[in-house]
């Protein structure tokens, strides 16, 4: 875990400017340590506004160049300020943080993404492809424009099987990612990694309950410290006996075994 001022080596709009997607590449020692599914806590300004760091997944690592890539979508004040940062500027980073995905040793790896939930899955895919595994991405988005802005080309470059769905039918299957899964022929031995909105991940977990695939899900929660010290970011987990406990999304996660997560927790 490092705290460092990282220099921006690239910062660009991805696809349609309206979609608010950005690619940010930082020269960072974090590259040497980062594992798929981990994230950084980024300070988007040097002042007090905004006060807190922003959690962003590590979407790419180049160990040789000591570079990490972050992909993000403009959301509120923090990401909008981040978008102002120029090449050559320095951003304060804390990372790599959390526990990421397990990279399977063999079998097929199914990646299930909802919207920008694809970002943290990218390094996992790269790692799995490097290992020679069969990798398949099932990705749901709003429309064709979304995929063009959200880095579909980065996935295509991996040469893996890609299934997409759009709500408006402008690309792939019309519907959501579940509609892809429902029509998909799965391998016998496989592992699943999912990231997207909570309801979508809950549904995906449900979908795979009938299989004996290990399903890992990457959760999101508002963060304070990012290192497990403040208990701001918890999720609810249950063991096989149904006993509830809290998990810290920043430290115990963001990746959890999907079957341990209490998906509809309002407690």
């Amino acid at each position: 875990m490092l705290l460092e001022d990282a220099k921006i080596v690239a910062h660009e709009i991805m696809g349609d400017p309206e979609s608010g997607m950005r690619r940010l590449v930082l020269r960072s020692e974090i590259a040497a340590e980062a594992l798929p599914g981990q994230f950084v806590q980024l300070k988007v300004s040097t002042g007090l506004d905004p006060l807190l760091r922003r959690p962003i997944s590590i979407a790419g690592v180049d160990q040789d160049k000591k570079e990490i890539t972050l992909l993000y979508r403009l959301k509120g004040k923090g990401t909008k300020m981040l978008a102002q940062a120029k090449i050559g500027n320095v951003l304060n980073l804390l990372g790599p943080l959390g526990h990421g995905f397990t990279v399977p040793q063999n079998g097929t790896l199914y990646l299930v993404a909802g919207g920008i939930g694809a970002f943290p899955l990218l390094p996992l895919a790269q790692e799995a492809v490097k290992k020679g595994l069969e990798v398949c991405l099932c990705w749901g988005g709003e429309n064709q424009g979304f995929f063009e802005s959200a880095g579909l080309h980065l996935w295509q470059a991996l040469g893996i099987d890609i299934q997409v769905s759009t709500m408006d039918g402008s690309m792939g299957i019309r519907g959501n990612v579940l509609d892809i899964l429902n029509n998909y022929e799965f391998a016998k031995t496989a592992q699943v990694a999912v990231c997207g909105p909570m309801v979508m991940m809950a549904a995906v977990n449900e979908f795979f309950v009938k299989t004996d695939f290990v399903v890992e899900a990457s959760l999101e929660e508002r963060m304070g410290c990012g290192v497990g010290a403040c208990l701001g970011c918890v999720c609810t987990l249950q063991d096989e006996q149904g006993k509830l406990r809290r998990g810290k999304v920043c430290k115990d996660g963001p990746v959890f075994k999907a079957k341990e997560v209490v998906w509809n927790a309002a407690l």
Binding site: D49, L52, E221, G232
Partner: protein, 314 residues
């Protein structure tokens, strides 16, 4: 107006808060530093004056649902709701590691009736290896219709006296700022026998998600911390320091050494950093270094001399 550089080469950073001696005046605040391990890879524990541990209760608690955090202008609302492993688990799983921390470890205890506090204080004595107990009285007293211990002087006095009777460790009374008179609360803590007063805990606040038309925090209200509250905290330290003769640990919005010096000059003997750690995990270190340099520049040979300088004749 810059005072001329003095010949001073070193500064005595040790501070004595009644029975509690710290190697320097910079502590980390309860609930923001876990049980002392999380930030260790980033900020060397042996450089800290002390660590205040996450608040514990007699029984384990899952705390409040999420969202538990909301960012506000220069501030942070939290409604963690005292999630903690409970006293027993703390003693068996956490304390052995806490004892090994190379700094003063301060337990923080919360309860919902006087008996809760008594129960915990009995287990937390000198042999535990802890340096002190901080008594968080910002909780509703469930046996008295939810009236907060932290807003009623008589209850506060009673709790502090009860804890004091059970433990031989220094007792720190941690006060809530959500009161009409912080001096009255501090005096009550003093009557109860508190060795040290720590202020401030968080200000009660909330924020609303205008698109969802619902509070951001699942718990509706939460505690406001961070730089936004610093003027209130400094004012309370200033008031209490002049009214009550007990050493003070000042906190609320400290990010930089300048902020910390403000608290010391207002009358604190030590400071605590909470939300500031989230912004800069090296904040405690930078604060310690900055206070030392400030002392050198001002020809002050011991950090303890800064306490109350803004109101003392000098």
């Amino acid at each position: 107006m810059q005072p001329s550089k003095s010949a001073l080469k070193t500064v005595n950073t040790e501070v004595k808060l009644g029975p509690l001696t710290l190697r320097n005046p910079v502590i980390t605040a309860s609930g923001t530093y876990g049980f002392g391990e999380e930030y260790a890879p980033l900020c060397p524990v042996e450089r800290l004056g002390g660590i205040t541990l996450k608040g514990i209760t007699p029984e384990p608690r899952l705390g409040n649902p999420v969202p538990r955090l909301a960012e506000t202008p220069s501030g942070l609302l939290n409604s963690v709701g005292l999630e903690n492993p409970g006293l027993k688990e703390f003693m068996t799983t956490y304390l052995p590691k806490v004892r090994k921390l190379p700094t003063a470890a301060i337990a923080n205890i919360s309860g919902f009736c006087v008996e809760d506090y008594i129960h915990m204080a009995r287990s937390l004595r000198k042999e535990s290896g802890l340096a002190a107990i901080e008594v968080n009285i910002s909780c509703p007293n469930v046996k008295h219709g939810g009236m907060h211990f932290g807003t009623d002087p008589a209850s506060a006095e009673q709790v502090i006296a009860a804890v004091k009777a059970e433990t031989d460790l220094p007792v720190i009374a941690k006060l809530s700022p959500n009161v009409t008179s912080i001096v009255a609360m501090a005096q009550a803590a003093a009557r109860g026998g508190a060795d040290i007063i720590s202020l401030i805990n968080t200000l009660l606040g909330m924020s609303i998600d205008i698109e969802k038309q619902r509070p951001v925090l699942a718990n509706v209200m939460g505690g406001l911390s961070g730089p936004a509250v610093r003027p209130v905290a400094v004012r309370m330290v200033w008031e209490v320091a002049q009214a009550v003769g007990i050493p003070i640990i000042g906190m609320g919005g400290i990010l930089s050494w300048e902020d910390a010096v403000e608290f010391l000059l207002a009358g604190a003997s030590a400071v605590s950093i909470g939300t500031g750690n989230f912004v800069n995990p090296l904040a405690p270190l930078r604060v310690i270094e900055g206070i030392e340099e400030y002392c050198l520049r001002h020809g002050v040979s011991a950090v303890s001399e800064l306490t109350g300088l803004a109101w003392k004749e000098n």
